[in-house]
Amino acid sequence: MANRVLKPWLFIMPALLIYLTVIFFPAIYTFYLSFFSWNGVAPHKDFVGIQNYIDLIMNDSVFLRALKNNLQWTVGSLVFIMGTGLILALMLNKKMKGRVLFRGVFYFPYVLSGIVVALGWAWMYNPTQGFINKVLESLGLDSWTHAWLAEPKTALYAVFVAALWQGVGQPMVLFLAGLQTIPADPYEAAIIDGAKQYQSFWYITLPLLRETFIIVIATTMIASMKVYDIIYGMTGGGPAESTQVLSSWMYYQTFRFANIGSGSAISLFLVLITMIVIIPYVFYTTRKSHL
């Protein structure tokens, strides 16, 4: 009997121990550290209550900038990455020549690392030798050229274009999978009833893609809150902190400036925002599966 009670624990033990060590306890300790002022090496930590949080919101213009950038990034991803993914999926959801090839071309950047994409696109944006300025020059549009990644006005958008290139494949594949679950009958019925194509799209395709939309929106929002590699690799948060996001600012505060308390507080903002997205999502999916 004791054996039967113990056995599951034995099987779950390795995963549980590692999970507790690597994720659970560290996250709790980070929460604790966010109430202290500490440089990471001094033996003494000063308890400051919620001062770190107040400082971030009241006195840290870079933090607010980062928060704004994350929000812009999220909206941009939902509109452009998800939108392009949906359009491509609709175009590729028919038997046609070269379908697999097209799908492969649009999807392959998604398997590359953010760092590789960052290095490749930084070269595309190179002010003197990069593709983009060279094309503009050869078209006689010299006045349009920019030091894309070095000017605060253009840097974030330039990085976002690289992220768009990397990211459209994921929603495209998810929407394609969703579209394939839609049966042909409603469309046939719609044609008999004399529906126009945009009407069948609006009244049949979109509602039946509801499930896929929820998945894509949730994953897109979470990925947008966590965005880090591509920004760190392309601009390092610069110029003039104009491309900082929460993740990168947390990295700088913690590992470059040794403001452990502030860094911890930033990461807690990340946790909070992620939860705002994930908890409704989990509730929705579990309620669905119990029906």
């Binding site: 056995k7 599951p8 491509l88 175009m91 590789v116 595309m124 593709f131």
Partner: protein, 278 residues
């Protein structure tokens, strides 16, 4: 849906759009390849759209040797070869307990693991760093595997538990009659039946490990142990003006990813669609 007639003009328009967009998508790759194959003086003088006069394959050899790319690649391959199977075994054992051992805490435990998916890595880095420093595990393989495996656990359990639940219980009873213990049932029945899910997980895990940057940046400080992502960053630091070498390095580093992607494309697409749905 094929009964729906598509107007030929519309079809032509669609093709034109797709071809143009695909060309646009390939430009960065082509531009990088052209750069990587030119000599340094040629890069400055020849037009950006011109093919290299003579392919400088030597750039790749140079990046491989002088840029230490061979070392970074070896390190990353090693980490992937250990981390991926190790992580999956650990996750599968847990998923087995959650689905097949009449575990009283099964649902609560599963929910507890799922909480891990809500916690961004950033929220664990400082305590983990303190812990690894105290145990002298920074820049050691046990430390690296601990951290890498740890962050894979919630997702791995989610996928494997989902799949294990679809394996009918009758199989357990048959195994019991045949006198199979839990260990042999796990290794000889459940794991082999789960190959589709495991294959998907292997590919995703390989990609995630190969592309991992933040953890490598913080927990692998020794240059000789760096992975391909952090290695490329230091490569750029050292050869910041040599774009032919840098782009050759970028190309080399994506070859394994592209190979895995092309070989297992099927699993990718079905896996991505299936995994997000849980």
């Amino acid at each position: 849906m094929e009964e729906i007639r598509v107007h030929p003009a519309w079809s032509a328009l669609r093709y034109t759009f797709l071809i143009l967009l695909a060309a646009l998508f390939l430009i960065p790759v082509i531009f990088i390849a052209f750069t990587a194959l030119k000599s340094k003086p040629e890069l400055l003088t020849s037009p950006f759209y011109a093919l290299p006069k003579q392919f400088q394959w030597g750039n790749f050899a140079k990046a491989w040797d002088q840029g230490n790319l061979s070392m970074y690649m070896r390190n990353t391959v090693f980490i992937c070869l250990v981390k991926v199977p190790l992580g999956i075994i650990i996750e599968a054992l847990a998923a087995y307990a959650l689905t097949r051992l009449n575990f009283k805490w099964s649902n609560a435990m599963f929910a507890f693991f799922l909480v891990g998916m809500m916690i961004p890595m950033q929220a664990t880095l400082v305590p983990l760093n303190i812990f690894l420093n105290k145990t002298h595990l920074v820049s050691t393989y046990p430390g690296i595997f601990l951290v890498y495996v740890g962050f894979g656990i919630p997702f791995g359990i989610l996928i494997l538990r989902g799949f294990f639940r679809t394996i009918p219980k009758e199989i357990d009873e048959a195994a019991l009659i045949d006198g199979c213990g839990d260990m042999s049932k796990f290794f000889r029945i459940i794991l082999p039946l789960s190959i589709p899910a495991i294959a998907t997980l292997v590919i995703f895990d390989f990609m995630a490990t190969w592309n991992e940057f933040l953890l490598a940046q913080i927990f692998i400080t020794k240059d000789t142990m760096k992975t391909i992502t952090t290695g490329l960053m230091s490569f750029r630091g050292e050869h910041s003006t040599d774009y032919t070498l840098l782009n050759a390095g970028v190309l080399i580093s994506i070859i394994p990813t592209l190979l895995v992607y092309l070989l297992f494309q099927k699993y990718f697409v079905s896996g991505l669609a299936g995994s997000v749905k849980g």
